[in-house]
Symmetry: C2
Subunit: 406 residues, 2 copies
C-alpha cells in the first residue's frame, strides 16, 4: 500500500509543483537571456585552461579558496565592481553565492524573524516578495516614480513606523534598472536614500542584479559606494550578464554581517566549476561581452516597445526601460492581468501578471511584466500580436491593433 | 560611524564564521577526496563536447530540462542506480540537487516543524545532526552494531515513542558505508528495517552518499529497491565519487513528495554547467572511474589502519571500514577527543571530535573520525604519528608507539 506522505508533511507546506512541460512558445517570463549571446567557445576555452591548471583542486570542498568562493573570481569582481560601481573593496569583502537568490536567502536568514518589517519598492521583484511573505515578515511597499523610490514617501513610511515603535530590518531596492519598472535611481537620490537610512538607523540591501545591462552602458555609483557607514549590503549576479543556468552571484558587505552569512551558508560551498570557468573567462572577455549583450537586448527591447505601441496603442501604458530584460505595462482598469495571464498561457503566451510583482497584490491587478531577453525579435513581434488578440477577445481592449479595427 | 549590525540580527543567530586560513597540514576532516583521482582531462573533453552541442541553452534557467535538473544526467542516473542498487525508476523520479546537503535541507523543509521527532543512527553524519538540532527537532539516536542500526533497539525506540503518542517524521540512515562507522547494513536487516517502518507507518530517508565506494565494489540492494510502498526517500551524490567542489547530488522519491520538494526549492535550479559536464562524462567514464577510485581509497585506508595500529596499538579501537573515506576510532576513557582535537589543531593535525558525529554528544567524548581521502599516503603516516605523539603528551596514551616506549 502506497505510503501517504500527507501524514508527515509539515504545516503550511506550499502546494505541489507541477511536472515541467517545456517552455511556452512565446516566453515573456523569467530571467532568461539570449541563447545566441552565451559565449560558448570562450567558455570551452576557459574550462580547458582552468581545469588543466587546477582541476585537481575540485577534490576539496571550496577548492583552495575557502568558503567565500573561488579567489580569482573574487579578485576579478573586486576590480570590476570598483571600476563600474565606485565601490572600493577587496576579494575579502566578497562572498560568492549560488545566484542572487541565495543572496536574498542569506540576508534574510541573518536578519529576519517572523513579524519583522521590511520596506521594499511598491512594484518589486517577485522572488524577494515571495521570500518575505513566506517568512511571515511585514512587507511595506514604498511608492516609485521614474527615479525609483520616492524619498518623501519613504520618509513618511519610516516616520509612521517609528511612531509605532517599529524599526524595519532593512530597506530593499533594485536601484539600477529596477525590477519591474526598469528605472535607474539618480545619484542625488541615492544620497538622500542613504541619509534617510542613517537617520532611521537601518541598513540598505542594494540588489544590483541588472546594473551591468543599462542600454547606454552608464550607471550611477552604487549606493554602497556612496555609503560611509558600511550599512549597505550589495548583491549582484552573472545570471543576467552571462547565463541564468550558471548559479553564480555575489554579496559585497562588511565582515560583521558577511561572517554571519557564512555561518548560515551550510551548502558545502557554491558550485566550484562554474566559479572556476567564470574566474578564467571574465578578465579577458567579460567587459566586451556585456557591451555586445546590451546591444542585443536593446534591439529586442525596441522590438517589444514598437510592437506594443502598434498593437496596444494607448490601451497599454508602457514604461521605457533604461536597460535589462523586461518592460512594465499598465493596462486599462477593465483588464485583469491575472485573467489575461490565464487566457494567454493556454495559448502559449507566457506573461507575468502584475499582482505577483508588487508588494501589495491589489496594486498590480492591471499591470503586467513582459520579458524580452530570451525570445527572438520575430517571436517578440508574433507573441505581442497574439497577446493583443487574446486581450481584445477577453476584455475588448485594445480596440484597434496595427491600425485595423478588430 | 560604522553601522552596528547586532541591532538587526535575528534571535539565535549562530556565531560568526572565522576567516579561512588554508587547509591544515594533516587534513583528516571533511569529505575531501583524492586530488590526483579527479578526472581532469575527461572533464575538459566532456565540457567541450556538451558546451559545443548545447551551451546556448545556459541562457534559460534549468536549461531545457525543467526544474528537476539536466535530463541526460537524470537518465544516466536512472540506469546506473538500477544497475547498482536495484531501484527501478525513470528520470522523472529523480531530482538533481546542489549536493546531498541540499537533499537534507529539502527533505527537512517538507517534513519537519519545531518539536518533531526524527530517529537517526546513534553515531551519525554531523551535517544531518546539526540541521535537525537547528530546526528544534527531537533527535533520537538508534544503537548500532557492525550491521548498522540494531533492529531490536529500533523496535524498542519506536514502541516507546508510540506509547508517548509520538510518531517520528522519518528514520534517517546511511546504510551503505555508514558515516562515521563505515559499516554496511546487510540486505536481510534492510528488510527488517522496512518491516518496522511499515509497522509504525513512517518513511525512511536513505542517504547513500558513500555507497559507490565499498572497497570490494559490492553492495546490498538499496532499501528503496526493496520497498513496495514508496516510503523510502533516497539520496546520493557525486561529491564522494567525483569531487566535492562540484555540488551535484540527487534525490529519488515518489512524486507525492518530490513535487513538494520542488515547490520549496527556490534556488532557480542547481548549477547547470556541473550537471551538463557530468551528464556528458558519466556514460563513458563513471563506472571505470569509481573502480579506480576505490583502489586509491583502499590503499589510503590501509595506510591509516596500519599506522593507527603501529602508533596507537591497543589504545585505539578502530572499526575497519568497508569503504568510504574515514575510520571511526574509540579511545580509552582517559582521552577527551575534543581536547585532543584542540591540541592537534594547533599543530596542524585536523580531526573530527566524536561528540560532533553522534546523536547524543556525551556518547562521543572518547571517539574520533579520521578522514583519509585527501591526504597522501605519506601524509597519512606522518599525521597519524604526530597525532599519537600529541595524544601521548596530552593524555599519557598511547603508552607505546612503533614498539618504542615514549
Amino acid at each position: 500500500m502506497a505510503f501517504d506522505y500527507s501524514t508527515v508533511f509539515r504545516p503550511n507546506l506550499p502546494p505541489a509543483a507541477k511536472r515541467w512541460s517545456g517552455f511556452p512558445k512565446y516566453n515573456f517570463v523569467g530571467g532568461h537571456n539570449d541563447g545566441a549571446a552565451v559565449p560558448v567557445q570562450d567558455f570551452i576555452d576557459a574550462a580547458a585552461v582552468v581545469l588543466n591548471r587546477e582541476g585537481s583542486t575540485l577534490a576539496t570542498y571550496s577548492l583552495e579558496s575557502g568558503s567565500q568562493g573561488y579567489l580569482p573570481l573574487r579578485e576579478y569582481l573586486a576590480g570590476f565592481l570598483d571600476k563600474t560601481t565606485g565601490m572600493v573593496q577587496t576579494a575579502e569583502d566578497i562572498l560568492l553565492v549560488s545566484g542572487s537568490l541565495q543572496a536574498l536567502d542569506l540576508v534574510n536568514d541573518v536578519l529576519l524573524a517572523e513579524g519583522d518589517t521590511v520596506v521594499i519598492e511598491e512594484a518589486a521583484y517577485q522572488g524577494a516578495v515571495q521570500r518575505l511573505n513566506r517568512l511571515g515578515v511585514n512587507v511595506i511597499g514604498a511608492p516609485l516614480d521614474d527615479g525609483g523610490i520616492r524619498m518623501d514617501a519613504l520618509n513618511n513610511i519610516l516616520n509612521d513606523l517609528k511612531k509605532d515603535g517599529v524599526k524595519p530590518k532593512y530597506l530593499y531596492a533594485v536601484p539600477t534598472v529596477q525590477n519591474p519598472t526598469g528605472t535607474v535611481m539618480p545619484e542625488e537620490r541615492r544620497l538622500e536614500f542613504l541619509k534617510l537610512a542613517r537617520e532611521f538607523d537601518v541598513p540598505i540591501f542594494e540588489d544590483d542584479c541588472y546594473a551591468d545591462l543599462t542600454f547606454d552602458g552608464t550607471r550611477p555609483r552604487a549606493i554602497r559606494a556612496l555609503d560611509e557607514d558600511g550599512r549597505v549590503i550589495f548583491c549582484g549576479t552573472f545570471s543576467k550578464t552571462i547565463a541564468p543556468a550558471l548559479r553564480v552571484g555575489y554579496i559585497v558587505a562588511e565582515w560583521d554581517i558577511l561572517s554571519r552569512m557564512l555561518a548560515v551558508k551550510r551548502d558545502g560551498g557554491s558550485g566550484a566549476l562554474e566559479q572556476m570557468v567564470l574566474g578564467e573567462y571574465c578578465p579577458d572577455h567579460f567587459e566586451d561581452h556585456i557591451v555586445k549583450l546590451r546591444g542585443v537586448l536593446k534591439q529586442k527591447c525596441n522590438a517589444m516597445l514598437e510592437t506594443l505601441a502598434a498593437e496596444f496603442g494607448t490601451a497599454a501604458e508602457v514604461e521605457t526601460p533604461t536597460g535589462g530584460i523586461f518592460v512594465w505595462v499598465t493596462m486599462p482598469d477593465s483588464v485583469d492581468t491575472m485573467k489575461l495571464f490565464e487566457a494567454a498561457s493556454a495559448e502559449g503566451v507566457a506573461i507575468n501578471p502584475g499582482s505577483e510583482w508588487v508588494a501589495d497584490p491589489a496594486t498590480g491587478t492591471h499591470k503586467m511584466r513582459l520579458c524580452f531577453g530570451n525570445p527572438t525579435v520575430d517571436e517578440i513581434r508574433e507573441g505581442v500580436i497574439k497577446l493583443a488578440e487574446i486581450c481584445h477577445r477577453e476584455f475588448g481592449v485594445p480596440e484597434r491593433g496595427s491600425n485595423i479595427e478588430r
